[in-house]
Amino acid sequence: MSMPKRAAHIVGEVGKYAPGYLIMVVIEGLLMGVNQSIGIFHTKEVFDLLWEGAGFAPIACILLEFALYLLLHYAFYHWFKERYQPHAREHLHVMVAEHLLEYAGDLNDRPYHETAPATRRIADRVDQILEHFGRVITHIVAVLAITAVLIWADRGLALVCIAVSVVRLVIAAVYDHLNVRHTEQVKQLDKQRHDLLAALNIKGEILRDYHERKRQLFTQGNRKLWWLTFVTESGMMAADLGIILWMLHGLMVTHTVHLGTVAVSATALWVLSWQLRGLYGRTVRLLKSVR
Protein backbone atom coordinates (compact mmCIF):
# COMPACT_ATOMS: atom_id res chain seq x y z
CA MET A 1 0.00 0.00 0.00
CA SER A 2 1.41 3.41 -0.92
CA MET A 3 2.04 5.91 1.85
CA PRO A 4 -0.80 8.33 0.99
CA LYS A 5 -3.21 5.38 0.85
CA ARG A 6 -1.89 4.09 4.16
CA ALA A 7 -2.36 7.53 5.73
CA ALA A 8 -5.90 7.72 4.35
CA HIS A 9 -6.59 4.20 5.64
CA ILE A 10 -5.43 5.05 9.19
CA VAL A 11 -7.45 8.29 9.21
CA GLY A 12 -10.44 6.29 7.93
CA GLU A 13 -9.99 3.74 10.72
CA VAL A 14 -9.93 6.55 13.30
CA GLY A 15 -13.14 7.81 11.71
CA LYS A 16 -14.68 4.39 12.30
CA TYR A 17 -13.64 4.11 15.96
CA ALA A 18 -13.82 7.76 17.06
CA PRO A 19 -15.83 9.69 14.44
CA GLY A 20 -16.44 12.64 16.78
CA TYR A 21 -12.72 13.14 17.33
CA LEU A 22 -11.96 13.04 13.60
CA ILE A 23 -14.71 15.57 12.86
CA MET A 24 -13.37 17.90 15.57
CA VAL A 25 -9.81 17.59 14.22
CA VAL A 26 -11.08 18.56 10.74
CA ILE A 27 -13.08 21.51 12.16
CA GLU A 28 -10.08 22.70 14.18
CA GLY A 29 -7.85 22.38 11.10
CA LEU A 30 -10.30 24.41 9.00
CA LEU A 31 -10.66 27.15 11.64
CA MET A 32 -6.92 27.44 12.16
CA GLY A 33 -6.49 27.77 8.40
CA VAL A 34 -9.12 30.50 8.08
CA ASN A 35 -7.56 32.28 11.07
CA GLN A 36 -4.36 32.92 9.10
CA SER A 37 -6.15 35.11 6.57
CA ILE A 38 -8.51 36.96 8.94
CA GLY A 39 -5.74 39.23 10.27
CA ILE A 40 -4.65 40.16 6.72
CA PHE A 41 -8.27 40.79 5.72
CA HIS A 42 -8.86 43.14 8.68
CA THR A 43 -5.58 44.98 8.17
CA LYS A 44 -6.61 45.75 4.60
CA GLU A 45 -10.08 46.92 5.61
CA VAL A 46 -8.78 49.17 8.43
CA PHE A 47 -6.09 50.84 6.31
CA ASP A 48 -8.41 51.28 3.33
CA LEU A 49 -10.87 53.11 5.57
CA LEU A 50 -8.08 55.21 7.08
CA TRP A 51 -6.90 56.15 3.58
CA GLU A 52 -10.44 57.09 2.54
CA GLY A 53 -10.65 59.37 5.59
CA ALA A 54 -13.40 57.45 7.38
CA GLY A 55 -14.13 58.39 10.99
CA PHE A 56 -13.23 56.39 14.09
CA ALA A 57 -16.64 54.66 14.49
CA PRO A 58 -16.64 52.49 11.31
CA ILE A 59 -13.03 51.40 11.87
CA ALA A 60 -13.72 50.67 15.55
CA CYS A 61 -16.69 48.52 14.44
CA ILE A 62 -14.40 46.44 12.21
CA LEU A 63 -11.84 46.07 14.99
CA LEU A 64 -14.47 45.08 17.54
CA GLU A 65 -15.81 42.55 15.08
CA PHE A 66 -12.23 41.23 14.79
CA ALA A 67 -11.99 41.14 18.61
CA LEU A 68 -15.21 39.14 18.80
CA TYR A 69 -13.87 36.72 16.21
CA LEU A 70 -10.61 36.33 18.18
CA LEU A 71 -12.47 35.77 21.46
CA LEU A 72 -14.59 33.03 19.89
CA HIS A 73 -11.63 31.51 18.09
CA TYR A 74 -9.49 31.32 21.26
CA ALA A 75 -12.45 29.96 23.27
CA PHE A 76 -12.83 27.10 20.78
CA TYR A 77 -9.08 26.55 20.42
CA HIS A 78 -8.38 26.28 24.16
CA TRP A 79 -11.48 24.16 24.82
CA PHE A 80 -10.35 21.82 22.03
CA LYS A 81 -6.69 21.63 23.07
CA GLU A 82 -7.07 21.42 26.85
CA ARG A 83 -10.47 19.85 27.45
CA TYR A 84 -11.68 17.96 24.39
CA GLN A 85 -8.50 16.56 22.82
CA PRO A 86 -6.90 14.91 25.92
CA HIS A 87 -10.29 13.33 26.71
CA ALA A 88 -10.78 12.11 23.13
CA ARG A 89 -7.20 10.81 23.00
CA GLU A 90 -7.82 8.55 25.96
CA HIS A 91 -10.97 7.25 24.30
CA LEU A 92 -8.95 6.56 21.16
CA HIS A 93 -6.28 4.81 23.23
CA VAL A 94 -8.84 2.38 24.63
CA MET A 95 -10.20 1.81 21.11
CA VAL A 96 -6.69 1.08 19.79
CA ALA A 97 -6.13 -1.36 22.67
CA GLU A 98 -9.44 -3.11 21.90
CA HIS A 99 -8.48 -3.33 18.24
CA LEU A 100 -5.02 -4.75 19.07
CA LEU A 101 -6.37 -7.30 21.52
CA GLU A 102 -8.86 -8.41 18.93
CA TYR A 103 -6.04 -9.19 16.44
CA ALA A 104 -3.33 -10.31 18.88
CA GLY A 105 -5.19 -12.60 21.24
CA ASP A 106 -2.04 -13.89 22.96
CA LEU A 107 -1.52 -10.40 24.43
CA ASN A 108 -4.43 -11.16 26.75
CA ASP A 109 -2.16 -13.34 28.88
CA ARG A 110 0.20 -10.46 29.59
CA PRO A 111 -0.27 -8.17 32.61
CA TYR A 112 -1.70 -4.69 31.96
CA HIS A 113 1.33 -2.68 33.06
CA GLU A 114 3.51 -4.58 30.57
CA THR A 115 1.31 -4.09 27.52
CA ALA A 116 0.18 -0.54 28.35
CA PRO A 117 3.38 1.26 27.20
CA ALA A 118 3.32 -0.57 23.84
CA THR A 119 -0.33 0.21 23.13
CA ARG A 120 0.32 3.77 24.28
CA ARG A 121 3.08 4.10 21.68
CA ILE A 122 0.75 2.85 18.96
CA ALA A 123 -2.04 5.17 20.13
CA ASP A 124 0.44 8.07 20.21
CA ARG A 125 1.48 7.25 16.65
CA VAL A 126 -2.15 7.25 15.52
CA ASP A 127 -2.64 10.53 17.32
CA GLN A 128 0.46 11.97 15.68
CA ILE A 129 -0.92 10.99 12.27
CA LEU A 130 -4.18 12.71 13.15
CA GLU A 131 -2.29 15.81 14.30
CA HIS A 132 -0.37 15.96 10.98
CA PHE A 133 -3.63 15.40 9.10
CA GLY A 134 -5.24 18.34 10.93
CA ARG A 135 -2.27 20.61 10.22
CA VAL A 136 -2.24 19.63 6.53
CA ILE A 137 -5.88 20.77 6.38
CA THR A 138 -4.87 23.99 8.19
CA HIS A 139 -2.12 24.78 5.68
CA ILE A 140 -4.28 23.96 2.64
CA VAL A 141 -7.09 26.20 3.91
CA ALA A 142 -4.61 28.93 4.90
CA VAL A 143 -2.97 28.95 1.46
CA LEU A 144 -6.38 29.12 -0.24
CA ALA A 145 -7.76 31.76 2.13
CA ILE A 146 -4.66 33.98 1.96
CA THR A 147 -4.63 33.67 -1.84
CA ALA A 148 -8.31 34.65 -1.92
CA VAL A 149 -7.64 37.73 0.25
CA LEU A 150 -4.68 38.68 -1.95
CA ILE A 151 -6.74 38.28 -5.14
CA TRP A 152 -9.39 40.50 -3.56
CA ALA A 153 -6.68 43.06 -2.65
CA ASP A 154 -4.76 42.97 -5.93
CA ARG A 155 -4.57 40.19 -8.53
CA GLY A 156 -1.04 41.07 -9.61
CA LEU A 157 0.12 41.01 -5.99
CA ALA A 158 -1.46 37.58 -5.52
CA LEU A 159 0.20 36.22 -8.66
CA VAL A 160 3.68 37.46 -7.71
CA CYS A 161 3.35 36.23 -4.13
CA ILE A 162 2.30 32.75 -5.30
CA ALA A 163 5.10 32.56 -7.89
CA VAL A 164 7.83 33.62 -5.43
CA SER A 165 6.48 31.33 -2.71
CA VAL A 166 6.47 28.33 -5.06
CA VAL A 167 10.07 29.02 -6.14
CA ARG A 168 11.08 29.31 -2.49
CA LEU A 169 9.29 26.04 -1.74
CA VAL A 170 11.19 24.20 -4.48
CA ILE A 171 14.53 25.53 -3.21
CA ALA A 172 13.52 24.67 0.36
CA ALA A 173 12.78 21.10 -0.72
CA VAL A 174 16.25 20.82 -2.29
CA TYR A 175 17.76 22.34 0.88
CA ASP A 176 15.92 19.86 3.11
CA HIS A 177 17.14 16.97 0.97
CA LEU A 178 20.78 18.13 1.18
CA ASN A 179 20.47 18.93 4.88
CA VAL A 180 19.12 15.47 5.71
CA ARG A 181 22.04 13.90 3.82
CA HIS A 182 24.54 16.13 5.58
CA THR A 183 23.03 15.46 9.04
CA GLU A 184 23.11 11.72 8.35
CA GLN A 185 26.82 11.91 7.50
CA VAL A 186 27.56 13.84 10.71
CA LYS A 187 25.50 11.36 12.75
CA GLN A 188 27.36 8.44 11.19
CA LEU A 189 30.69 10.02 12.03
CA ASP A 190 29.54 10.76 15.59
CA LYS A 191 28.44 7.17 16.01
CA GLN A 192 31.91 6.01 14.96
CA ARG A 193 33.42 8.33 17.58
CA HIS A 194 31.06 7.00 20.22
CA ASP A 195 32.02 3.41 19.36
CA LEU A 196 35.70 4.26 19.42
CA LEU A 197 35.48 5.87 22.84
CA ALA A 198 33.38 3.01 24.12
CA ALA A 199 36.07 0.53 23.02
CA LEU A 200 38.43 2.13 25.60
CA ASN A 201 41.36 1.59 23.31
CA ILE A 202 41.62 5.20 22.30
CA LYS A 203 44.46 6.25 20.11
CA GLY A 204 45.23 9.91 19.60
CA GLU A 205 45.63 9.43 15.83
CA ILE A 206 42.16 7.89 15.49
CA LEU A 207 40.53 10.82 17.24
CA ARG A 208 42.59 13.26 15.22
CA ASP A 209 41.30 11.54 12.12
CA TYR A 210 37.72 11.88 13.43
CA HIS A 211 38.09 15.61 14.05
CA GLU A 212 39.69 16.10 10.64
CA ARG A 213 36.90 14.20 8.86
CA LYS A 214 34.26 16.15 10.73
CA ARG A 215 35.95 19.43 9.79
CA GLN A 216 36.02 18.37 6.13
CA LEU A 217 32.37 17.37 6.27
CA PHE A 218 31.37 20.78 7.61
CA THR A 219 33.59 22.64 5.16
CA GLN A 220 32.22 20.84 2.10
CA GLY A 221 28.65 20.07 3.11
CA ASN A 222 27.76 23.44 4.56
CA ARG A 223 29.01 25.37 1.51
CA LYS A 224 26.09 24.18 -0.63
CA LEU A 225 23.62 24.71 2.21
CA TRP A 226 24.95 28.22 2.81
CA TRP A 227 24.63 29.14 -0.86
CA LEU A 228 21.11 27.79 -1.09
CA THR A 229 20.02 29.61 2.07
CA PHE A 230 21.71 32.84 1.06
CA VAL A 231 20.28 32.83 -2.47
CA THR A 232 16.77 31.93 -1.28
CA GLU A 233 16.67 34.43 1.56
CA SER A 234 18.21 37.25 -0.48
CA GLY A 235 15.78 36.49 -3.30
CA MET A 236 12.86 36.54 -0.87
CA MET A 237 13.99 39.82 0.67
CA ALA A 238 14.46 41.40 -2.75
CA ALA A 239 11.05 40.11 -3.90
CA ASP A 240 9.45 41.38 -0.71
CA LEU A 241 10.93 44.85 -1.17
CA GLY A 242 10.01 44.76 -4.86
CA ILE A 243 6.39 44.04 -3.96
CA ILE A 244 6.29 46.82 -1.35
CA LEU A 245 7.83 49.33 -3.77
CA TRP A 246 5.46 48.22 -6.54
CA MET A 247 2.48 48.77 -4.25
CA LEU A 248 3.88 52.08 -2.97
CA HIS A 249 4.30 53.17 -6.60
CA GLY A 250 0.68 52.24 -7.24
CA LEU A 251 -0.41 54.25 -4.21
CA MET A 252 1.78 57.33 -4.59
CA VAL A 253 2.38 57.66 -8.34
CA THR A 254 -0.33 55.94 -10.39
CA HIS A 255 -3.00 56.02 -7.64
CA THR A 256 -4.26 52.54 -8.56
CA VAL A 257 -3.70 50.92 -5.17
CA HIS A 258 -5.20 51.61 -1.74
CA LEU A 259 -3.22 51.96 1.50
CA GLY A 260 -4.71 48.68 2.75
CA THR A 261 -3.06 46.77 -0.10
CA VAL A 262 0.31 48.37 0.72
CA ALA A 263 -0.12 47.39 4.39
CA VAL A 264 -1.02 43.84 3.39
CA SER A 265 1.87 43.59 0.91
CA ALA A 266 4.36 44.11 3.75
CA THR A 267 3.63 40.68 5.19
CA ALA A 268 1.68 38.80 2.50
CA LEU A 269 4.65 37.18 0.79
CA TRP A 270 6.19 35.83 4.01
CA VAL A 271 2.86 34.56 5.35
CA LEU A 272 1.95 32.79 2.11
CA SER A 273 5.42 31.36 1.69
CA TRP A 274 5.47 30.15 5.30
CA GLN A 275 2.10 28.44 4.84
CA LEU A 276 3.22 26.71 1.63
CA ARG A 277 6.39 25.56 3.34
CA GLY A 278 4.31 24.34 6.27
CA LEU A 279 2.05 22.41 3.92
CA TYR A 280 5.03 20.70 2.32
CA GLY A 281 6.67 19.94 5.68
CA ARG A 282 3.52 18.56 7.27
CA THR A 283 2.68 16.40 4.26
CA VAL A 284 6.19 14.90 4.37
CA ARG A 285 5.84 14.29 8.13
CA LEU A 286 2.38 12.76 7.69
CA LEU A 287 3.66 10.37 5.05
CA LYS A 288 6.76 9.52 7.09
CA SER A 289 4.67 8.78 10.17
CA VAL A 290 2.71 6.03 8.38
CA ARG A 291 5.82 4.17 7.22
Partner: protein, 295 residues
Protein backbone atom coordinates in the same frame (compact mmCIF):
# COMPACT_ATOMS: atom_id res chain seq x y z
CA UNK B 1 5.05 6.35 47.54
CA UNK B 2 5.71 9.91 46.61
CA UNK B 3 8.61 10.50 44.25
CA UNK B 4 11.37 12.74 45.54
CA UNK B 5 11.28 16.05 43.72
CA UNK B 6 14.37 16.71 41.66
CA UNK B 7 16.35 19.50 43.30
CA UNK B 8 16.73 22.71 41.35
CA UNK B 9 20.24 23.88 40.69
CA UNK B 10 20.88 27.12 42.64
CA UNK B 11 21.33 30.25 40.50
CA UNK B 12 24.86 30.77 41.83
CA UNK B 13 25.79 27.32 40.54
CA UNK B 14 24.09 28.07 37.21
CA UNK B 15 26.17 31.24 36.89
CA UNK B 16 29.39 29.46 37.91
CA UNK B 17 28.83 26.66 35.41
CA UNK B 18 28.22 29.08 32.57
CA UNK B 19 31.30 31.07 33.57
CA UNK B 20 33.24 27.82 33.59
CA UNK B 21 32.08 27.01 30.06
CA UNK B 22 32.82 30.56 28.87
CA UNK B 23 36.37 30.30 30.25
CA UNK B 24 36.77 26.89 28.59
CA UNK B 25 35.52 28.25 25.26
CA UNK B 26 37.79 31.28 25.58
CA UNK B 27 40.80 29.07 26.20
CA UNK B 28 40.07 26.71 23.30
CA UNK B 29 38.70 29.18 20.72
CA UNK B 30 38.78 32.83 21.85
CA UNK B 31 36.68 34.20 18.97
CA UNK B 32 33.74 31.77 19.25
CA UNK B 33 31.69 33.49 21.96
CA UNK B 34 32.31 37.12 20.86
CA UNK B 35 31.41 36.25 17.25
CA UNK B 36 28.27 34.37 18.32
CA UNK B 37 27.12 37.32 20.42
CA UNK B 38 27.98 39.83 17.72
CA UNK B 39 25.99 37.95 15.04
CA UNK B 40 23.04 37.66 17.44
CA UNK B 41 23.23 41.41 18.09
CA UNK B 42 23.29 42.35 14.40
CA UNK B 43 20.62 39.81 13.48
CA UNK B 44 18.24 41.20 16.14
CA UNK B 45 18.99 44.77 15.12
CA UNK B 46 18.46 43.98 11.44
CA UNK B 47 15.20 42.21 12.27
CA UNK B 48 13.92 45.29 14.08
CA UNK B 49 15.05 47.69 11.37
CA UNK B 50 13.62 45.58 8.53
CA UNK B 51 10.33 44.49 10.08
CA UNK B 52 9.49 47.62 12.02
CA UNK B 53 11.63 50.70 11.53
CA UNK B 54 11.87 50.96 7.72
CA UNK B 55 8.27 49.85 7.22
CA UNK B 56 7.24 52.66 9.55
CA UNK B 57 9.54 55.05 7.73
CA UNK B 58 8.01 54.19 4.33
CA UNK B 59 4.36 54.46 5.38
CA UNK B 60 4.90 57.57 7.51
CA UNK B 61 6.70 59.02 4.50
CA UNK B 62 3.45 58.91 2.50
CA UNK B 63 1.76 61.13 5.08
CA UNK B 64 4.82 63.36 5.48
CA UNK B 65 4.98 64.09 1.75
CA UNK B 66 8.19 62.19 0.94
CA UNK B 67 8.60 61.34 -2.74
CA UNK B 68 8.38 57.76 -3.98
CA UNK B 69 11.94 57.95 -5.33
CA UNK B 70 13.27 59.00 -1.93
CA UNK B 71 11.53 56.11 -0.15
CA UNK B 72 12.63 53.64 -2.86
CA UNK B 73 16.29 54.69 -2.57
CA UNK B 74 16.30 54.43 1.25
CA UNK B 75 14.61 51.01 1.21
CA UNK B 76 16.93 49.69 -1.51
CA UNK B 77 20.03 50.82 0.38
CA UNK B 78 18.65 49.09 3.48
CA UNK B 79 17.98 45.93 1.42
CA UNK B 80 21.63 45.79 0.32
CA UNK B 81 22.85 46.25 3.91
CA UNK B 82 20.34 43.68 5.19
CA UNK B 83 21.38 41.11 2.57
CA UNK B 84 25.04 41.67 3.50
CA UNK B 85 24.25 41.21 7.23
CA UNK B 86 22.18 38.07 6.52
CA UNK B 87 24.90 36.67 4.25
CA UNK B 88 27.54 37.16 6.93
CA UNK B 89 25.24 35.73 9.59
CA UNK B 90 24.51 32.60 7.55
CA UNK B 91 28.20 32.28 6.69
CA UNK B 92 29.04 32.38 10.38
CA UNK B 93 26.27 30.02 11.54
CA UNK B 94 26.51 27.50 8.74
CA UNK B 95 30.21 27.53 7.91
CA UNK B 96 32.39 29.17 10.53
CA UNK B 97 30.62 28.24 13.79
CA UNK B 98 30.47 24.45 13.12
CA UNK B 99 34.21 24.48 12.33
CA UNK B 100 34.90 26.42 15.51
CA UNK B 101 32.84 23.90 17.50
CA UNK B 102 34.90 21.11 15.88
CA UNK B 103 38.06 22.94 16.88
CA UNK B 104 36.84 23.30 20.48
CA UNK B 105 35.80 19.64 20.63
CA UNK B 106 39.18 18.51 19.35
CA UNK B 107 40.88 20.31 22.26
CA UNK B 108 38.60 18.94 24.96
CA UNK B 109 39.72 16.06 27.20
CA UNK B 110 38.71 12.70 25.75
CA UNK B 111 36.66 11.84 28.85
CA UNK B 112 34.08 14.60 28.15
CA UNK B 113 34.10 14.48 24.35
CA UNK B 114 31.25 12.01 24.04
CA UNK B 115 29.07 13.93 26.50
CA UNK B 116 29.72 17.26 24.77
CA UNK B 117 29.01 15.88 21.27
CA UNK B 118 25.99 13.74 22.17
CA UNK B 119 24.15 16.53 24.00
CA UNK B 120 25.37 19.38 21.80
CA UNK B 121 26.39 21.22 24.96
CA UNK B 122 28.48 23.90 23.24
CA UNK B 123 25.88 24.61 20.55
CA UNK B 124 23.02 24.74 23.09
CA UNK B 125 24.90 27.08 25.41
CA UNK B 126 25.85 29.34 22.46
CA UNK B 127 22.17 29.41 21.40
CA UNK B 128 21.21 30.40 24.95
CA UNK B 129 23.69 33.29 24.99
CA UNK B 130 22.56 34.42 21.52
CA UNK B 131 18.91 34.31 22.64
CA UNK B 132 19.73 36.58 25.58
CA UNK B 133 21.43 39.11 23.33
CA UNK B 134 18.49 39.02 20.89
CA UNK B 135 16.11 39.52 23.80
CA UNK B 136 18.03 42.55 25.09
CA UNK B 137 18.23 44.14 21.60
CA UNK B 138 14.57 43.47 20.75
CA UNK B 139 13.36 44.76 24.12
CA UNK B 140 15.50 47.90 24.00
CA UNK B 141 14.72 48.83 20.38
CA UNK B 142 10.98 48.22 20.70
CA UNK B 143 10.82 50.08 24.02
CA UNK B 144 12.55 53.09 22.45
CA UNK B 145 10.30 52.98 19.39
CA UNK B 146 7.09 52.80 21.45
CA UNK B 147 8.35 55.61 23.68
CA UNK B 148 9.08 57.73 20.60
CA UNK B 149 5.67 57.03 19.00
CA UNK B 150 3.62 57.47 22.17
CA UNK B 151 4.71 56.69 25.77
CA UNK B 152 1.15 55.58 26.65
CA UNK B 153 1.73 52.54 24.45
CA UNK B 154 4.08 51.19 27.11
CA UNK B 155 1.08 50.81 29.39
CA UNK B 156 -0.62 48.70 26.75
CA UNK B 157 2.56 46.66 26.36
CA UNK B 158 2.49 45.96 30.10
CA UNK B 159 -0.92 44.20 29.91
CA UNK B 160 0.44 40.87 28.57
CA UNK B 161 2.87 40.74 31.50
CA UNK B 162 -0.15 39.93 33.68
CA UNK B 163 -0.19 36.58 31.87
CA UNK B 164 3.18 35.48 33.32
CA UNK B 165 1.81 34.03 36.63
CA UNK B 166 -1.03 32.29 34.76
CA UNK B 167 1.46 30.71 32.37
CA UNK B 168 3.49 29.45 35.33
CA UNK B 169 0.38 27.97 36.96
CA UNK B 170 -0.66 26.41 33.63
CA UNK B 171 2.78 24.83 33.23
CA UNK B 172 2.80 23.36 36.74
CA UNK B 173 -0.75 21.94 36.43
CA UNK B 174 0.11 20.44 33.04
CA UNK B 175 3.22 18.78 34.50
CA UNK B 176 1.19 17.44 37.44
CA UNK B 177 -1.45 15.99 35.09
CA UNK B 178 1.22 14.43 32.92
CA UNK B 179 2.85 12.73 35.92
CA UNK B 180 -0.51 11.57 37.24
CA UNK B 181 -1.58 10.17 33.89
CA UNK B 182 1.74 8.32 33.64
CA UNK B 183 1.06 6.79 37.07
CA UNK B 184 -2.47 5.76 36.08
CA UNK B 185 -1.19 4.15 32.89
CA UNK B 186 1.49 2.10 34.59
CA UNK B 187 -0.41 1.01 37.69
CA UNK B 188 -0.70 -2.76 38.11
CA UNK B 189 -4.35 -3.87 38.01
CA UNK B 190 -6.30 -7.08 38.35
CA UNK B 191 -8.91 -8.60 36.06
CA UNK B 192 -9.40 -8.96 32.30
CA UNK B 193 -6.83 -6.99 30.24
CA UNK B 194 -9.42 -5.15 28.17
CA UNK B 195 -11.36 -4.27 31.31
CA UNK B 196 -8.17 -2.82 32.78
CA UNK B 197 -7.65 -0.67 29.69
CA UNK B 198 -11.21 0.55 29.91
CA UNK B 199 -10.85 1.27 33.61
CA UNK B 200 -7.59 3.22 33.16
CA UNK B 201 -9.10 5.09 30.19
CA UNK B 202 -12.13 6.00 32.28
CA UNK B 203 -9.93 7.24 35.10
CA UNK B 204 -7.86 9.36 32.72
CA UNK B 205 -10.93 10.77 30.96
CA UNK B 206 -12.42 11.77 34.33
CA UNK B 207 -9.17 13.49 35.25
CA UNK B 208 -9.03 15.44 31.97
CA UNK B 209 -12.73 16.29 32.23
CA UNK B 210 -12.21 17.73 35.71
CA UNK B 211 -8.92 19.54 35.11
CA UNK B 212 -9.13 20.31 31.37
CA UNK B 213 -11.56 23.16 31.78
CA UNK B 214 -9.22 24.88 34.27
CA UNK B 215 -6.34 24.65 31.79
CA UNK B 216 -8.63 25.86 28.99
CA UNK B 217 -9.84 28.83 31.06
CA UNK B 218 -6.30 29.89 31.97
CA UNK B 219 -5.11 29.38 28.38
CA UNK B 220 -7.98 31.56 27.22
CA UNK B 221 -7.10 34.26 29.74
CA UNK B 222 -3.46 34.22 28.58
CA UNK B 223 -4.55 34.48 24.92
CA UNK B 224 -6.88 37.39 25.70
CA UNK B 225 -4.13 39.22 27.62
CA UNK B 226 -1.36 38.49 25.15
CA UNK B 227 -3.10 38.52 21.77
CA UNK B 228 -6.51 40.18 21.82
CA UNK B 229 -5.56 43.10 24.09
CA UNK B 230 -2.46 43.87 22.02
CA UNK B 231 -3.88 43.29 18.54
CA UNK B 232 -7.23 44.97 19.02
CA UNK B 233 -6.45 47.40 21.87
CA UNK B 234 -3.25 48.54 20.17
CA UNK B 235 -4.94 48.97 16.80
CA UNK B 236 -7.92 50.84 18.29
CA UNK B 237 -5.61 53.30 20.04
CA UNK B 238 -3.38 53.66 16.98
CA UNK B 239 -6.34 54.25 14.65
CA UNK B 240 -7.75 56.85 17.05
CA UNK B 241 -4.39 58.67 17.17
CA UNK B 242 -3.92 58.42 13.38
CA UNK B 243 -7.35 59.93 12.72
CA UNK B 244 -6.50 62.76 15.15
CA UNK B 245 -3.17 63.34 13.41
CA UNK B 246 -1.02 62.24 16.36
CA UNK B 247 0.39 59.20 14.55
CA UNK B 248 1.39 58.36 10.99
CA UNK B 249 0.15 55.41 8.94
CA UNK B 250 3.45 53.67 9.54
CA UNK B 251 3.15 54.01 13.34
CA UNK B 252 -0.33 52.55 13.10
CA UNK B 253 0.93 49.52 11.14
CA UNK B 254 4.01 48.72 13.21
CA UNK B 255 2.89 49.22 16.80
CA UNK B 256 1.16 45.85 16.97
CA UNK B 257 4.36 44.15 15.74
CA UNK B 258 6.49 46.22 18.13
CA UNK B 259 4.30 45.57 21.19
CA UNK B 260 4.03 41.91 20.16
CA UNK B 261 7.78 41.36 19.99
CA UNK B 262 8.40 43.37 23.17
CA UNK B 263 5.87 41.41 25.22
CA UNK B 264 6.73 38.08 23.62
CA UNK B 265 10.31 38.46 24.83
CA UNK B 266 9.29 39.51 28.34
CA UNK B 267 6.66 36.80 28.73
CA UNK B 268 9.09 34.12 27.55
CA UNK B 269 11.88 35.35 29.84
CA UNK B 270 11.17 32.64 32.49
CA UNK B 271 11.51 29.95 29.80
CA UNK B 272 14.79 31.48 28.66
CA UNK B 273 16.11 31.33 32.23
CA UNK B 274 14.93 27.73 32.45
CA UNK B 275 16.94 26.93 29.31
CA UNK B 276 20.01 28.48 30.95
CA UNK B 277 19.45 26.29 34.00
CA UNK B 278 19.07 23.18 31.82
CA UNK B 279 22.29 23.85 29.94
CA UNK B 280 24.03 24.58 33.27
CA UNK B 281 23.08 21.08 34.38
CA UNK B 282 24.68 19.65 31.26
CA UNK B 283 27.81 21.79 31.78
CA UNK B 284 28.00 20.48 35.35
CA UNK B 285 28.73 17.01 33.99
CA UNK B 286 31.65 18.23 31.86
CA UNK B 287 32.92 20.27 34.79
CA UNK B 288 32.82 17.30 37.16
CA UNK B 289 34.60 15.04 34.65
CA UNK B 290 37.29 17.64 33.94
CA UNK B 291 37.85 18.28 37.64
CA UNK B 292 38.16 14.53 38.26
CA UNK B 293 40.79 14.27 35.51
CA UNK B 294 42.67 17.25 36.96
CA UNK B 295 42.78 15.53 40.36
Amino acid sequence: MKKKRQQKMPMVRVRDNHLYLLRLLHRTCPTFVPLTLLTAFFSALAGFLGNVYFLRYALNGIGNGLSFQHIAVVLTVWLVIDIAIKGLRYAYHMRKAPLMVCEIQSRLPVCVLDEVCEHHIIETAADNYAAQIRFVVATTTNLILLWVIDPWLLLLAAVPLLAIPSRGWQHSLRTRLLNKSERIRTTKRTGDLLEQYRYAGQELRTMFRQQGHKLAAVGYLVAVLMEVSVEVGGMLYAVYCTINGRMGYGDCLVIVTAIGSLTHGLVHLPEMLLDLRKSAQAIQQIRSSCEEVAL
